[in-house]
């Protein structure tokens, strides 16, 4: 593991006491976000998202398969994340560790529980054949805040996904049926200060982390707390507000990038 000098942590704390962050951002300000869709031809849908220097590619592949027995009329979706060694000197090759698994599951829940993919419209033959949606996240460059980059990349990729009906002789290709997506925003806490969109330096010294997903109405759709520190109720309220404000702006940017 790359060792973080204690002096660095102390300096970030000191700056925070003065209301500042190392890269000059405000506590509730995101880094520059870049969204590019259609980056992988072989995939049914794909997107590359950069938040600051953090870079993630999401690829959507679809296949025909059997439905789950408890939902015979619904399509199936599954999410996997690879924290490949390329993205950080600390990532090792091998089977996914808890970080990768947590990342995949949080992104998955964000998409699944919010019903972004209208899975009931992905049925081919009830009880027999349905569409399966694979969301694969490939982390290319890790500089803090993988949750939001991965989540945004998945949404952008889904937004341009075409169901490959032609390949399976099931008619013409058509856009995957989607509902309005919730946008996730992650914050971390250190030295009793809470900041949104943590950079790598900030994530390395964070005690607690909170991801909040909000929808177009400003309602809450998903939340996840991580790490072994704690939040006060006031801090949580502040995080929710910052997530809503930033969520709105990010959604605008997402729509712009997919030509909506």
């Amino acid at each position: 593991m790359t060792v973080v000098p204690i002096i660095k942590r102390d300096y970030i704390w000191k700056l925070a006491e003065q209301g500042k962050r190392v890269d000059g951002r405000k506590f509730d300000e995101f880094r520059k976000i870049e969204i590019e869709t259609g980056v992988v031809n072989k995939a049914e849908g794909s997107a590359r998202v950069k938040i600051g220097n953090t870079q993630v590619i999401a690829g959507i592949k679809m296949d025909v398969g059997e439905p789950y027995s408890d939902s015979p009329d619904s399509g199936v979706m599954t999410t996997a994340a690879e924290l490949i060694p390329m993205a950080s000197p600390d990532f090792e090759a091998g089977p996914p560790r808890e970080d990768a698994i947590e990342l995949a599951r949080v992104v998955d829940r964000g998409v699944r529980e919010s019903g972004v993919i209208e899975v009931d419209k992905l049925c081919i033959e009830p009880g027999e054949k349905v569409w399966i949606v694979f969301i694969d996240l490939h982390i290319l460059d890790y500089d803090g805040n993988l949750f939001d980059a991965a989540s945004l990349a998945s949404l952008a990729a889904l937004s341009t996904t075409k169901v490959p009906a032609e390949r399976f002789e099931l008619g013409e290709n058509y856009p995957i049926p989607l509902k309005e997506p919730p946008i996730s925003c992650t914050s971390v806490k250190f030295n009793n200060v809470v900041v949104i969109d943590p950079s790598l330096d900030e994530e390395e010294i964070a005690d607690a982390r909170l991801t909040v997903a909000t929808d177009t109405n400003g309602d809450l759709r998903a939340m996840q707390k991580g790490l072994n520190g704690s939040f006060t109720k006031e801090e949580i309220q502040k995080v929710i507000k910052a997530s809503m404000d930033n969520g709105r702006e990010i959604r605008k940017q997402l729509y712009k990038s997919i030509g909506k």
């Binding site: 992988v40 031809n41 060694p85 290319l140 460059d141």
Partner: protein
């Protein structure tokens, strides 16, 4: 399997319009990642490959360290979404074999004696696959290593040739790879012409092999020019007078 596709017509034109000696379009960009010590993004026809280099750094586990030189770990991996039928994440036997032959090719040109007990890790990710990914991977790895400042005797370049419907051609495309009769990927040290990587499958007469071999070598040299241009382009501005 009998295929109705005519891979090459009577005028020597291939499916995508190329003649037998033409390479697909290649675009190379050096230094594209923030964390990695060196990196390269490469597009070759429909292939999209990203390579990141870390090192030299301490080789772990300790027992893998070589007291005389650095070990080179190339890891070739295909993203789940890079192929027509989604691939399950994780290395399969094919990936591990390709990783091995690429590691060995790189070991020959990297000046490993300068870093005893260290490791040089080369991560090759195929994001979009369309035949010839190992050549694209080795080529991009060469650029990423130079970008990382790793001392090398040469920047390795790689290209394949093959046979389609009786005709020897360079740089097989997707259908040509699927329905062709032979595939010969080669990696060289352009400065000396030494062969660093060589594999072949299919069926070639000796005469066909010689023709394919020459085509592949010529392809490697063309690729080498593109690599060098990409590196200089990235760093020329560093020395430009302001």
């Amino acid at each position: 399997m009998e295929s109705d596709i005519k891979l090459i017509d009577n005028n020597g034109k291939r499916l995508d319009g190329r003649s037998e000696g033409d390479l697909r379009n290649i675009k190379i960009e050096a230094g594209v990642l923030h964390r990695a010590d060196g990196s390269c993004y490469l597009e070759w026809g429909g292939n999209k490959v990203l390579v990141a280099v870390y090192g030299p750094r301490e080789a772990i586990p300790r027992h893998s360290q070589n007291p005389l030189r650095a070990i080179v770990n190339a890891r070739y991996n295909m993203a789940a979404f890079s192929v027509e039928d989604r691939k399950r994440p994780g290395p399969d036997r094919r990936s591990r074999e390709i990783s091995k032959v690429i590691s060995e090719a790189l070991e020959k040109v990297i000046l490993t004696e300068q870093f005893p007990r260290a490791a040089i890790d080369v991560n090759i990710e195929v994001l979009d696959a369309e035949a010839g990914t190992r050549c694209a991977g080795l080529t991009a790895a060469g650029v990423a290593l130079a970008d990382a400042g790793i001392p090398m005797k040469d920047i390795p370049a790689s290209c394949a040739a093959g046979k389609i419907q009786g005709n020897v051609v360079v740089d097989l495309g997707k259908e040509e790879d699927n329905f062709g009769d032979a595939d010969l990927p080669i990696g060289i040290s352009p400065r000396t012409g030494e062969i660093l990587l060589l594999q072949m499958d299919g069926h070639l007469t000796l005469e066909e092999f010689n023709k394919a071999f020459d085509y592949a070598i010529e392809g490697c040299h063309k690729v080498s020019e593109i690599q060098k241009k990409a590196i200089l382009e990235k760093y020329q501005s560093v020395v430009e007078e302001k």
